[in-house]
């Protein structure tokens, strides 16, 4: 029971972190039609900047400053890189962000080295939030969830209640009309790109010390974020939310299950004996445990989903 609850909370925490990344990715995609390949690199940049700032003036200023810096960097990338190649179509844009991911990854190694940096949880949050039947839940996880939920509410309000948000929403579907009404659509695109990157940076600030801050952290979370965006349906914020929680749950629960396919089959009353001693000759497929397959599961989910429902959970039909 307590195992299930803690696992659920952990998966919620991880899922919300994934959503912080995929929300920015989805916003950018629906606004500009660009898949920001470097999104996870901005996440990594957020973590490293937060590490550098927290060494200098502490964690709390870093929580504010690192996403801001990352957002400004993102806006600069949009202004001086993406906007210039925009007229050549989406592929050069995707290629540019791919190159950017490559270069950011190298720059981070250049500045902070190849080994993980000691980016730690602030002392004030370094305890347990509550203890449930002897299993404690870290306070920092609670803080992560709080930040993610606050961000979720903030985006929601910004998009539906504020004037800027309404213009952004209009620009998503009818950019020409919005431009005709006198709004500067390229500037809105720059804001959205910068904002999305800032969200990724914020995810990096709070995720970097909970997970680990190292040069490969971007690549690790990056491909999962893309899976989330595809599974949720490209361009759908709600879809991204559901898919983030789903994949968070899938990955967290899977690593905790030490059953193999054979065990499941024997639970269902099916058993088969291959004649040889199983402990000496484990079968490569039937004896893989779910925990071993955990890293593969999101991709399998994506492929199965694409076969059954190519537009993702909540995505629009391909235009």
């Amino acid at each position: 029971m307590e195992f299930a609850l803690i696992t659920l909370l952990n998966s919620l925490c991880y899922g919300l972190l994934l959503f912080m990344l995929s929300a920015g990715l989805t916003l950018i995609f629906s606004m500009m039609g660009v898949l920001n390949f470097a999104h996870a690199s901005f996440y990594m940049l957020g973590a490293y900047l937060a590490y550098a700032i927290s060494m200098w003036i502490g964690f709390w200023p870093a929580l504010l400053m690192a996403p801001l810096v990352v957002g400004v960097l993102g806006a600069l990338v949009e202004r001086y890189g993406l906007r210039a190649v925009h007229r050549q179509g989406h592929m050069p844009e995707l290629l540019l962000t791919y190159g950017l991911a490559y270069v950011i990854g190298e720059l981070v190694q250049l500045i902070w080295g190849r080994a993980p940096v000691p980016y730690r949880i602030p002392a004030g949050l370094d305890g347990s939030l509550f203890t449930f039947y002897g299993t404690s839940f870290p306070a920092y996880r609670g803080f992560m969830m709080l930040v993610a939920l606050l961000m979720l509410v903030a985006i929601r309000c910004l998009l539906t209640r504020s004037r800027t948000g309404l213009v952004i929403q209009a620009a998503l579907t009818h950019p020409e009309m919005v431009e005709a009404l006198g709004h500067d659509v390229p500037r809105i695109a720059m804001l959205v790109f910068g904002g999305g990157c800032a969200l990724a940076g914020l995810a990096g600030v709070i995720g970097g010390n909970a997970l680990v801050t190292e040069p490969s952290m971007g690549a690790t979370l990056g491909s999962i974020t893309f899976v989330v965006a595809v599974v949720g349906g490209l361009g759908s914020l709600n879809g991204a939310f559901i898919a983030s929680l789903l994949i968070g749950l899938l990955q967290t629960v899977a690593v905790a299950i030490d059953y193999s396919l054979r065990d499941f089959l024997s639970l269902c009353g099916l058993s088969f004996s291959s004649g040889t001693d199983l402990r000496l000759h484990p079968h490569p497929f039937w004896d893989l445990t779910i925990a071993q397959m955990a890293p593969v599961l999101p991709y399998l989910l994506m492929i199965v989903l694409l076969i059954c429902r190519p537009r993702g959970l909540m995505g629009a039909r391909e235009g």
């Binding site: 050549q88 290629l95 250049l110 899976v227 893989l288």
Partner: protein, 453 residues
Amino acid sequence: MKPGHCSSRLLPTRLPASMVWMGFGAALIAAPLLSGEGAGLSLLSQIGMVMIFGLSYNMLLGQGGMLSFGHAVYAGLGAYCIAHALNMAGAGKLPIPVSLMPLLGGAAGMTFGVLFGYVTTKRAGTTFAMITLGLMELVFASTLLWPEFFGGEGGVSTNRVIGSPVLGIDYASGIAVYYLIAFWLFVSTAAMYAFTCTPLGRILNAVRDNPERAQSIGYDPQRVRYLTLILSAGFAGISGALSAIYFESVSAESVGAARSGAILLFTVIGGAGFFIGPMVGAVVGVLLTVVLSDVTRAWHLYVGVFFMLIVRYAPGGITGLLVMSLPVLRSGNFRSVLPWCLAMVAALLLMLSATVLMTEMLYRLTLEMHDATALHFLGVTFKANSIASWSLAILMLASGIWVLLAVRPRFLHAWHTVQQNPQPALQHDSLQSIQQDGLPATQSTLPGDRTLL
């Protein structure tokens, strides 16, 4: 358009096609005579394998508009299959000579293409790119799950000198392996070039440019993409098989993200809009990789920045730049551009050396290689921990940028003046002839465009 007629030529020359192909074959045969045995030959062999891989990748990227982040899956799985096939042949269970193994690798690649392509080619564009990325991660993660096939961390090793020589050929020497690669490179290049002239190759361009229209005249875009991916995976399998024969071992990195990314980088650097683009990219890419990685640890950074500059300023790649400058070179008025061209090159070189110096000094500082803190450049010693060195580098960078900004408008003016008055006979020849029609990525190589810096 009648089948077998190609609008694009292999090279921007007026030589007949047969001469070009004979020249290519002769160059392949003669290359080892120039390079000699050893390091040069191994470079040539690697370039050959990357060329096949790049050409097969460009069937998707350049001709089909499909950006794949997981093409190494097909080459890598082909390589694994061939490593196992070689081991079986060595044990006498598989009566196939080594010379024909690449064909088997191609079949393996196509099989995986049939399997994976069904999923990936369901969608085009960005979604295709992401599915290929997911698939690549899936296959890469599987390498640790099924050690029986993938050999776990160590990979699968094999031996190419097996059995008795067939037709007197054994692959004990590097030169024999080079000629095996050269033979399959020639065959694959010819086949892939022929593919661009087939109805499928032509309709593939239509699907790339306007899927709705292709569909409305009766072609299923999904099916066209699927068939192309199968063929492309086959050629990737050939290159994978050659790499298994060449290196005599295959490891998990051969299906990994880095390998897929490298071929994307090389192809775009060479010029995805041209048939020969990936071949140019293979030469440049392998040379960059081998030479730079010997000299500096920051070589990934340089390759990445180079790639971004190409995407940003020269969407036609190196081939695009060359082709764009041909009419100017041939026009006879080149002398009026030359001084500005040289000034531009000088400014760029200044900026390049300043950036490289700063990067290297930063590397010295952060990775704490105490043994090598001094750099020697043009007789000046740069030290990573001295303010004077940093100021000098920054000064170099600033003056480079200043010269570039000052010279650029005049250079562009001179360039366009020459370009707008070319000699009439040369106009058609080089620009449109080797460009694959209507590719968005190469539109900017047309005259009058200002993307050249």
